[in-house]
């Protein structure tokens, strides 16, 4: 699933530390690290909204997608 989070890019652009972000949106640094490295199964809308708010960006700035045919492999044929 080539959906990638670009939180680390936005953080670098805004010149903010993971500790600051984690503290502002009430996440642990471990959770934020998992988000930054993409080692999570999903991102809650409220977490996404908080990230957008503190980083001053849109969801599309934080999430990237590269089309991959394998994403449709488990979808049954119509």
């Amino acid at each position: 699933m080539p959906v990638r989070l670009r939180i680390h890019v936005m953080m670098a652009e805004r010149n903010v530390t993971a500790r600051d972000i984690a503290a502002r949106i009430s996440l642990s640094e471990t959770q934020l690290s998992l988000l930054r490295t993409g080692k999570v199964r999903g991102l809650r809308f409220d977490t996404l909204a908080k990230l957008c708010y503190v980083l001053g960006c849109k969801p599309g700035d934080l999430i990237d997608y590269e089309p991959d045919e394998r994403d449709m492999a488990e979808v049954p044929a119509p």
């Binding site: 996440l27 959770q31 999570v40 999903g42 809650r44």
Partner: protein, 160 residues
Amino acid sequence: MVFKHSGLRPVGIAIKVFTVVLALVLIDHMSGALTAMKWVIGDAGANVALVFAFWTTLLAPGFYLIALWSLGNFFSRGSSPEVFSSEASRCIRSTGSSLLTGAGCALMVEPLAIATLTAEGMHFDVTLVVEDLTIGLIGLALYVLVASAEQLRDELKEFI
């Protein structure tokens, strides 16, 4: 996931009070039954067997009371705000396993003990079998549900 359960604490306390009252009623009832038992004069072995059989009849209600107490703990827990905290899981699992064990005692241990230790022979009350079987299956369902809930909780933890 946060769940405001502080309003349920009185329910937990009420269940615990109810459990204590039921335990006292059970003790009163069983002490009456103990004094009314048909003791065999001059046969200590038969009397010991009778007492042992008597105690086995306390197993099922005892486990049911433990289940009620665990349910009280579930409602009156206060430290964790999570719906499926470890403490909540432990309380529900304990309730389920106690119900299952109590039903097992009522269905298997008690009739076997009475049949083995006394001269009454093996007999089953169909009404009680239905009740105990239902209680046991509810206990089993709770136990299985907690396992599923814990699995779901672990999956949800992967969503940040």
